[in-house]
């Protein structure tokens, strides 16, 4: 099927997965509210499962997208396999977040249907973010995602940490939205359009326009904020720390994936013509992010917060892939994003499994003996941590290898070396958790701890762990798909990383 966007109805098809998920989110909201009205009580389990079903249906619609193509690439939304790939990652992230929140919400006494509905709305925002080919749609998608997340972060109103995290996330998030919006205004003023396909041909003439460059710079800042690149990461540890852990998992995975996809679409595809202008500063930000985040992560006593910094560090690694400026870089980026989503969501899932009751404290000492108390989850957690560190036998190793290779290919030797050094630093804090988990006996009072991750969550963790391992042994086909997905980006006129249309 071919879409030409001349008729508005074609947009309904192009946006089918997003529409399906939006309607489904409303359905979830209605089911919940009709079932219990305004009574304050836990929602039925059916709400969570319904939400999961919605994700599955959306995934099907998303797969269907592969069968249609665009007549011209002028639409506000892209219909290409890059978007489909990113959508799948986002959907996986959302599904993992829902699976680990089952049971967890009850424990914290915040099992409300709105949680799932908001989570789905945020997912819609992420999907749109990966599809946006128009800066205004980008802004709207970003806000749709963010507004839902502001609420989710502060979902546990009775917990001062949750509320505080939400306040900081909200204030700084809308602060950065302001920059993004002003950047869009300046780009709009100088390019006379907000559509990337209209901007790209004008780039040679815009290269000298300070208004455009400042606009592009503000856009960079706005997106860098969402992917948590240093020094725009300041909100991240606090928001991640304060948020209910499933939300943290979603923010660390889905949000990052979607925002990075937008990053690629806007900068790598759209603004490829001014690569020289933005690449230098971005390289420095990548360096700062990799080293800064890893160093700070070393000093963290809380595992949850350590993982927050770890996710910042990974934004740095992903930036190296973006900056590699070649086909392998983009494919490596998608591959790493997938591994990263699985291992990060998994790690946060274990944080849930080990947290005490409603208390979210997750000190390193709380993991003493965890590996023996919970053999399965301990092994799974070790896999995730080793993968995050880039240990061989895990997908994280292959992912880093790909990024390194693409970076070397591009001649970014300093970035490649820094990535290796930075991940060496990261070994210390990841392994520390493994060591504590297996080598330090649990205090006696730990004996009566119960498993705090329900069956579905455990299953999700195990599947993710197996996937992380599988991505080491058979990474070939995923990489193949990633490479083909990247190729679809070239339908936009303009050069992509020197590959050309």
């Amino acid at each position: 099927m071919t879409l030409d966007f001349a008729s508005q109805a074609d947009y309904l098809l192009a946006l089918l997965p997003e529409i399906v998920l939006s309607l489904w989110a409303m359905l979830v909201l209605m089911v919940d509210v009709f079932q219990k009205g305004n009574r304050v009580e836990a929602s039925r389990p059916v709400v969570a499962w319904l939400s999961l079903a919605g994700l599955v249906v959306t995934a099907a619609a998303n797969g269907w997208l592969l069968t249609i193509e665009e007549a011209a690439v002028t639409g506000m939304v892209a219909v290409d396999s890059f978007r489909v790939f990113v959508n799948f990652i986002v959907l996986i992230a959302a599904a993992l977040a829902i699976l680990i929140s089952i049971g967890y919400l009850d424990r914290r006494g915040i099992n409300r249907g709105e949680f799932y509905a908001l989570l789905l709305f945020a997912t819609v925002g992420m999907m749109l973010l990966g599809a946006a080919r128009d800066l205004i749609l980008l802004f709207l998608a970003l806000e749709l995602m963010s507004v839902a997340l502001y609420v989710l972060v502060g979902f546990d109103r009775r917990d001062p940490r949750s509320s505080e995290g939400a306040l900081k996330y909200f204030l700084l998030g809308s602060f950065s939205s302001g920059f993004l919006l002003y950047g869009i205004a300046l780009v709009f003023g100088s390019a006379r359009s907000t559509n990337l396909s209209a901007i790209v041909p004008l780039l040679p003439s815009l290269q000298e326009s300070p208004m455009f460059l400042i606009g592009a710079g503000l856009l960079l800042v706005g997106l860098a904020f969402k992917v948590a690149v240093m020094p725009f990461h300041v909100w991240t540890p606090d928001a991640y720390d304060g948020a209910p852990t499933p939300v943290t998992a979603l923010m660390a995975t889905g949000v990052k994936a979607a925002a990075f996809a937008a990053f690629i679409r806007v900068f790598a595809v759209g603004f490829a013509g001014i690569y020289n202008e933005w690449s230098v500063v971005l390289s420095w930000l990548a360096l700062l992010t990799m080293f800064g985040a890893n160093l700070i992560a070393l000093t963290q006593g809380s595992v949850k917060r350590m993982l927050a910094y770890s996710s910042i560090a990974h934004a740095g690694y992903l930036l190296v892939a973006v900056l590699a400026a070649n086909a392998y870089g983009a494919a490596a980026f998608l591959f790493y994003l997938l591994v990263y989503t699985l291992m990060t969501a998994g790690a946060f899932g274990i944080v849930i499994a080990n947290s005490r009751g409603a208390n979210e404290l997750n000190k390193l000492d709380d993991y003493a003996g965890f590996g023996w108390r919970e053999p399965l989850l301990g092994a799974v957690f070790s896999i995730f941590l080793l993968s995050l560190a880039g240990f061989p036998l895990t997908g994280g190793f292959i992912g880093k290898l790909y990024i390194l290779r693409s970076s070397l290919e591009a001649g970014n030797v300093e970035l490649a070396v820094s990535l290796v050094l930075a991940s060496v630093i990261s070994y210390f804090y990841y392994l520390r958790v493994v060591v504590v988990m297996y080598m330090r006996p649990a205090p006696a009072e730990e004996a009566n701890r119960t498993v705090l991750l329900t069956g579905p969550g455990q299953l999700a963790m195990s599947v993710s762990a197996v996937a992380v391992l599988a991505l080491f042994f058979v990474p070939g086909w995923v990489l193949d798909v990633a490479q083909r997905s990247v190729a679809s980006l070239f339908t936009v006129p303009g050069t992509f990383f020197g590959l050309g249309p």
Partner: protein, 99 residues
Amino acid sequence: MLPLNAALFLSAILFAIGTAGVVVRRNAIILFMCIELMLNAANLAFVALSPYAGIDGQVIVFFVIAVAAAEAAVGLAIIIAVFRHAESVDIRNFSLLRW
């Protein structure tokens, strides 16, 4: 007709005031108002640019207004939630999460 530069200049000044406000003010509500000021500065830029760059600019403003309203609703709710814990909206009181 107003010169374009003047309108843009005004919008830039408003944006700068909003930005500075976020850095120096302590009251969460005022902070939020400063952020709204930034968004509206961008709106002003869009409107000022629209005769020159296309009618889209004015359409965008509608979207931004709607988004700002949604943000306001959520933001005020969050501030209320925080106020219930701290009995204050002074952001200096909120540093449970740090380091």
